[in-house]
Symmetry: D2
Subunit: 149 residues, 4 copies
């Protein structure tokens, strides 16, 4: 299911869409670093922001039951620990669009640091929310992702 080599995702590409945010007080776990699944929340928040900026409002898509895009596969590679207050840059970097599946690749960096802190890839399948059966990738989604292909 892996679409990208994690090593290819460590460098920020020119077409990336990114947002800065901070590692929050409640993202930390009992080992004193970011609880690792939070990275998927960061990516999910960014995707919602990106799609909104392209005119694809996910809240409206879900409310109208036009389509949904549950996950089929996700993976993350962590290179360095994140701590409370770290200023990070979460970037949507690459996309692969198939018949009824979309794979997105993200890079998380830390302010003032060269290398990536983590890279993530997620494969969504597109479905009809009523039947939960697969549907072709909606035109609005496919178009919004063109710049990352």
């Amino acid at each position: 299911m892996k679409a990208f080599d994690p090593n290819d995702l460590r460098v920020l590409p020119p077409q990336a869409f990114s947002r800065e945010r901070e590692v929050r007080f409640h993202d930390i776990d009992a080992a004193g670093i970011m609880f690792y699944p939070r990275i998927f929340e960061y990516c999910n928040d960014l995707l919602v922001d990106y799609l909104a900026s392209e005119g694809v409002g996910v809240p409206g898509v879900l409310a109208a039951r036009r389509w949904a895009a549950p996950l089929r596969h996700v993976e993350a590679d962590y290179f360095r620990p994140l701590r409370f207050g770290d200023r990070i840059q979460v970037a949507l970097c690459r996309a692969q669009v198939k018949e009824s599946a979309v794979t997105l690749a993200y890079r998380v960096g830390r302010q003032g640091e060269e290398g990536a802190v983590a890279v993530v890839q997620t494969t969504h399948v597109t479905i009809d929310p009523e039947s939960f059966l697969r549907c072709p990738v909606p035109e609005e989604l496919s178009r919004a992702l063109q710049r990352f292909i």
Copy 2:
């Protein structure tokens, strides 16, 4: 909106319904103790368990859109910090049922300790999930809460 005096909730009453659980790795925050809103997750989980034990399956109630019970008021008093791995007892202790509102009181204790670690009270209003307008407290909910009144 407060229905109970927090001090009256520090002692476990005989009619309490309780479950043991542990403070989890990811309940901890950057200060090294339980992130304080997690206490409401613990109480919410217990309520779902209790109602199921009384034949009121909340998943089914929501799926059938029979009724819903969003929160109108919540409050918690914290007496001692909780740490990763602490074995706690979460107890539903008291209830007050009004026309279209229910207040529930919870106590959290720690294994081997006399006093309460925290007490919580939550006031739900009962609504029709289609209109989001208030409805009388459903008979099945009211009956399930009798032992706490």
Copy 3:
């Protein structure tokens, strides 16, 4: 423990410090609205932002073990449900500083709406993180909160 009347918190005062944010995909619960304890995350995030803007970096305070401010009491009143994608304004509005306790009041509003969606108040006690014993409210914290008193 309540320091403010919730009704007095429904109006945004001139000295408020606020940030806009959106209700996220994963803030929603099985009833289709914001899971109610998330409101405390929103307030906590805002407090960290506000203190940083006043030169009080909470990550640094905790790392240096200068002081900590665990919660003693929290409460929230919810007036209207929040849904995925709602644009909200979270505001720190009022403060009360005592010998070793601080109560903060927050208001959450929704873009384009008059009334408050929710109001929150939280009472922190200030402690020495080594001993977990109470200490006087640190000067840096007290000074940062002056505008809300």
Copy 4:
């Protein structure tokens, strides 16, 4: 970094250690199914339970700063959506222990269903929590994982 073929993880092996739990009210997202990163919380909770049952108390390990095991790589494959109230079985199934890394494989099933709902694998590196430098996999951890190798 992948140690196991996800397809090999779909069947519950005889040596599995498992616990039943329910998909909670607040595990659901705005699309009405389990928010996908929650699966890692389920696996993490199970690992803590398993290690405790083998005499390796993770809270004590962290408090004594004996060792820590942050994530280097995680991945999950989701085969079917999970909904509020679903009774699931989370199982730790297989392990691979290297010099300073441990890969664990988990399977999540649903009561009364044949196939897996999801499979997860996580690669931890073992470190000295003071220096954050890699250390050999601690003997107590390695021994606890023998049955899964």
